[in-house]
């Protein structure tokens, strides 16, 4: 297939997706379960892809994602709370010290930018570490960030450990999908560029990559910064989805959840991460909900055993463990969705 036809097909598919979304939203309503799951799924897809760029494509096992999301979410919320409502939100800090409000889109970009800046600073020392030491150091940084944001002295900016709210949010599913699609698209373009190939080379063998003339530190830092930029944007979108924000929710367990999504989708597959995100959110928020409610059969005489609050997550984590243990490649392995439809390159190459 020619490149231009391929691009045209992609654009057509994307348009089709947005048209489909529009009709779904018209039909089911903005508050329906389906639309809620789609919103949250799109946000998680972006965050999972950003983590996959680091863990799956560059082979840097980082567990700091929740920290960068937290920075993004707070940057967005702090910058976009309307002036009129600041007094009410910052009631313990005399209305805070930030005396301006930026438009939503600027807030989102600032969220990414600040997360990226932080990643640059943290990356300089941390990226020299290897595998599990890197994991634990990034996890540590995420905890430090959380402590700093909750620090009383910074209260006039971050509102301490109190709730941030009344910042602008989105009502429709379309803007979330638009933002997530653009960001994931940029990541895909990056992965298919020479930089992406360098990332993969580093993942497969650091020493060989260095021997081929790839500047290890430079590329690792680049992957780390870009991943954090999109994690920051993901954090901002998550803040918009939730409607209110508190630093306490961004614990290490959030990073673990995203890591598990990446593993289920397949380390090194963008489409895998996207599919896994929607599956993960749909299962945990919707399809497995019935496990959490006590159910009676035969006119209320027989109570189904085990079904009560919390059982959903148990079943869910057992399924995840099965994937981790027995289907280590995840849903997609290292393949992408389009690899399944396009004929293999070998066949194209051989000509009679």
């Amino acid at each position: 297939m020619k490149k231009t036809t391929k691009n045209l097909i992609n654009i057509a598919l994307l348009l089709l997706m947005f048209v489909g979304l529009y009709f779904l939203e018209q039909h089911f309503g903005r508050r329906s379960m389906l639309i809620t799951v789609l919103k949250k799924g799109a946000i998680y897809a972006l965050i999972a892809v950003s983590m996959n760029l680091l863990n799956g494509f560059t082979g840097l096992f980082s567990l700091g994602q929740a920290g960068f999301m937290l920075v993004g979410a707070y940057t967005y919320a702090v910058l976009t709370i309307p002036m009129a409502k600041r007094m009410a939100v910052y009631q313990y800090y005399d209305g805070g010290i930030i005396n301006f409000t930026v438009p939503t889109i600027v807030g989102i970009l600032a969220a990414g930018a600040l997360a990226a800046l932080l990643a640059m600073l943290i990356g300089m020392p941390v990226l020299r570490l290897k595998s599990d030491y890197l994991a634990i150091a990034t996890l540590g940084f995420a905890e430090i960030i959380r402590a700093i944001i909750q620090w009383d002295t910074l209260g006039p900016i971050t509102n301490g450990s109190n709730l941030l709210k009344t910042y602008p949010t989105f009502k429709s599913v379309i803007p979330v999908f638009a933002a997530a699609t653009i960001c994931i698209g940029v990541i895909v373009l990056l992965i298919n560029s020479t930089y992406g190939r360098a990332f993969k080379a580093i993942r497969d063998d650091e020493i060989a990559a260095e021997a081929m003339g790839i500047n290890l530190f430079h590329h690792k830092q680049m992957a780390f910064i870009i991943s954090s930029f999109f994690a920051g944007i993901g954090g901002a979108l998550l803040a918009m989805y939730q409607g209110s924000l508190q630093a306490n929710a961004f614990k290490a367990s959030m990073t673990y959840e995203i890591l598990l999504i990446v593993v289920i989708g397949g380390m090194g597959s963008v489409t895998g991460s996207v599919i896994a995100s929607f599956l993960f959110i749909a299962c945990s928020e919707w399809w497995l909900r019935f496990l959490d409610t006590e159910t009676y059969l035969f006119g209320g005489t027989v109570k189904l055993p085990l079904l009560r609050s919390g059982f959903r997550m148990v079943v869910f984590s057992v399924v995840i463990m099965i994937v981790v243990l027995f289907f280590r490649k995840g849903i997609m392995g290292e393949k992408e969705l389009w690899d399944l439809f396009t004929p293999k390159k070998k066949k194209e190459g051989i000509k009679p």
Partner: protein, 292 residues
């Protein structure tokens, strides 16, 4: 000044001892499998819940051995189910499995308890109050460091003098060669997990006697801190882990005494990062070099 610091110092030493008991489990597992056992903190929490439920049916002197036995069984099972099938897999897969186990155990505990904090039973004598100088504290504060040091001395003796200890040292030096020499690595690894879980169970009894309530996620933080202690002391070194744990426990409480409670957790991680940058092998760690 000293009178004001003393209670914090005492609880620092006590917490340090409890971290030490957890840290030994981390450091031994890492020494042998090169795995950060993220589930270790949750096994520690599970021990707390075992005690909560068993103490309602049995008197404490029978409950404690049973709790220890159950925790050991849990640690053993986790290793067999979640880590053993991945013996030949890349290290990262095992670590992801450990994170999965941690997620599973937390959700399971949430399900069983309904997400509510459970009151930890009072254990006679060690929960009693005692006055030292100007500070009032519980007996457990004084017992912890003594018990910790006794247990660690016992453990070091096992590792240095017995056959299984020798096998452990051999496996941690070189996995494959040890296997070729006829060491049954699976039983060595199981023993490691059994010892680690046993110490975590003891640590949990001491820890929760001090903190009185157990929630499903309560073990995550002490678990991570104990891991930091293990890295600080030099991963793989048992005395290192113990010293690291005491230093972290004491520093953390002194920071609380100075009025920076928000940063007591962050301090631990800041310490970790500083160590990793300037002395990645920790205080007593061995130097390793990367082979091509």
């Amino acid at each position: 000044m000293f009178d004001r610091i003393l209670p914090y110092l005492l609880s620092g030493i006590s917490v340090g001892g409890q971290y030490a008991l957890i840290a030994v489990g981390y450091t031994m597992v890492y020494g042998i499998l090169r795995l950060i056992n993220f589930a270790h903190g949750d096994i520690f929490t599970a021990a707390g819940f075992f005690m909560v439920y068993i103490a309602t049916a049995l008197p404490v002197q029978f409950a404690i051995p049973l709790v220890i036995a159950l925790t050991v069984a849990l640690g053993f099972t986790v290793e067999r189910i979640a880590y053993k099938p991945l013996r030949s897999a890349p290290r990262m897969s095992v670590m992801i499995s450990a994170i999965g186990v941690s997620y599973l155990l937390q959700n399971l505990m949430w399900y069983v308890t309904g997400g509510l904090a459970k009151q930890y039973p009072t254990i006679p004598w060690i929960s009693e109050s005692i006055t030292i100088g100007s500070a009032t504290t519980k007996v457990v504060t004084l017992i912890t460091p003594v018990l910790t040091i006794l247990l660690v001395i016992a453990l070091v003796t096992i590792i240095q003098k017995t056959k299984i200890g020798m096998a452990m040292r051999a496996v941690s030096k070189d996995f494959e060669t040890a296997q070729l020499m006829g060491i049954k690595i699976n039983s060595v690894i199981s023993t490691t997990f059994i010892i680690g879980s046993l110490l975590a169970a003891v640590g949990s009894v001491l820890y929760f006697s001090n903190y009185t309530s157990v929630t499903p996620t309560v073990g995550a933080m002490p678990g991570l801190k104990a891991f930091v202690a293990a890295v600080f002391g030099g991963i793989g070194s048992i005395p290192g882990a113990v010293i690291g744990a005491f230093i972290i426990g004491i520093c953390e409480n002194i920071i609380k005494a100075l009025g920076y409670t928000t940063f007591s957790d962050a301090f631990t991680f800041a310490l970790l990062i500083v160590i990793l940058l300037f002395k990645p092998t920790g205080l007593f760690g061995e130097k390793t070099s990367e082979k091509v």
